[in-house]
Symmetry: C2
Subunit: 228 residues, 2 copies
DNA sequence: GCAAAAGTGTTCCAGATACACCCATGT
DNA sequence: ACATGGGTGTATCTGGAACACTTTTGC
């Protein structure tokens, strides 16, 4: 235990460690997947875990989450949102650790995760087929998944998981994968178009022995949804 | 700065302090109010602030919130839910402090806050007429208020702000105060009764020169809503 | 009998759902 | 010509919002 310090007004008892963890969702191979690292360091060396790590004493929580994601997976520039704070006293064997979990969405094709720092390996894993996870990370993923489903009823959420220009069928696939159910094509298209969030690019996309699809884009691609 | 320690796997860099803060809502004098303490200790001695304080190294976040509420205001037994974690690097002048905010609801008539511990005074304050608050507590209150409004569309939230047996008019008043708008009596009553969350007690309540009101109670009073 | 809050039904609108066929293209 | 996914319209249901009068009581 630390001794009380003479620093004015400073709390004199032991401080827990604070970390951030990141759940990064993507859609890949028609499945909802998350990014995991294989831990290169003890404890739980060799286990799969969420990217994340200790807070620097002068950085914000969100900066920490972004930095750890970048350091461990090479991925940066994703908009992360705070999810929940996990603090069970026994959740980490090292010492008392409070973890502020963040989540984000990204289209997988633009991202090339590369292991670095504390990670000996990095990979996407289907949310429905996850390996055993270190610490309480399975709980964290669970909560993040439920939040994502809720968040999807703001349609612009789905745009973050898709390339900037897309067909309505591709967009519908994103919804169907996350909601894990089939949607009616006509109703889906009407709903999307009625929201006035989409515009036609004029281009179309021809894929096989069938009619080409119109390509759309989001009208306000920079829209950041604040939904604390 | 602390020196790296020899403890196995322990993070060797300075740890922030972790606190919890509590926003406790009630309805009193036909207004939505929150519980504030006047700080007895520096920093910000004499300012109004949310009850809260430092996390003990082996207690859960929720236990900490409950303990601090109890220590500073004498109030216990309220169900608290995590709100959000605030961690701006400069939000506390003492040192780096991460605060995990919690909120809860309680009927004011059963509670008698009494100052203790770090508080030299405790009082309810109308949300629409708050004093200047210490630290970033105004932001925290703001977010809590918005969350409460959202949470209200699960009607059972309102039951937490009212005595166990109540008339529909009293319940409607709770909604009107939180939503800050008038509701239609017929629509409100139909909506409440259609949900099948209420049952008649058989009793009625006579109040003045008019027809007495039926008294209802919640069908499942112990229902704890988990809405992370 | 009058003042005051309790109690009660119907209409309307918007958004969600269910449902089946023609269109444009590649082979 | 046929196989394949793209594209379209209508009927129905459901939940929310608007709206005014009768009932029961105390004085």
């Amino acid at each position: 235990m630390r001794k009380p310090q003479p620093f004015p007004y400073r709390y004199a008892y032991p401080h827990p460690a604070v970390t951030t963890d990141v759940i990064l969702f993507t859609i890949k191979d028609a499945q909802l997947q998350i990014l995991l690292i294989r831990r290169a360091q003890p404890p739980m060396q060799g286990s799969w875990a969420l990217p994340g790590g200790f807070l620097n004493i002068d950085e914000s929580l969100e900066d920490c989450a972004n930095r750890e994601l970048q350091e461990e997976t090479g991925i940066s520039g994703v908009h992360l949102e705070q999810l929940y704070t996990f603090g069970r006293p026994d959740r980490d064997p090292r010492e008392r650790v409070i973890s502020v979990a963040h989540y984000g969405l990204a289209p997988s094709d633009k991202l090339s995760p590369t292991p670095a720092s504390d990670a000996q390996d990095v990979n996407w894993h289907p949310i429905n087929d996850l390996p055993e996870l270190a610490f309480d990370h399975a709980d964290i993923v669970n909560l993040a998944h439920r939040r994502l489903v809720k968040k999807l009823d703001d349609a612009s959420t789905a745009f973050q998981l898709i390339h900037p220009e897309f067909t309505l069928s591709e967009l519908q696939a994103v919804f169907e994968i996350i909601l894990n159910k089939r949607l009616d094509k006509r109703n889906f298209r009407r709903r999307m178009l009625d929201m006035e969030l989409l515009e036609e690019t004029g281009k179309s996309f021809s894929n096989g022995n069938h009619r080409p699809a119109k390509i759309y884009r989001s009208k306000n691609p920079e829209r950041v949804v604040i939904l604390k």
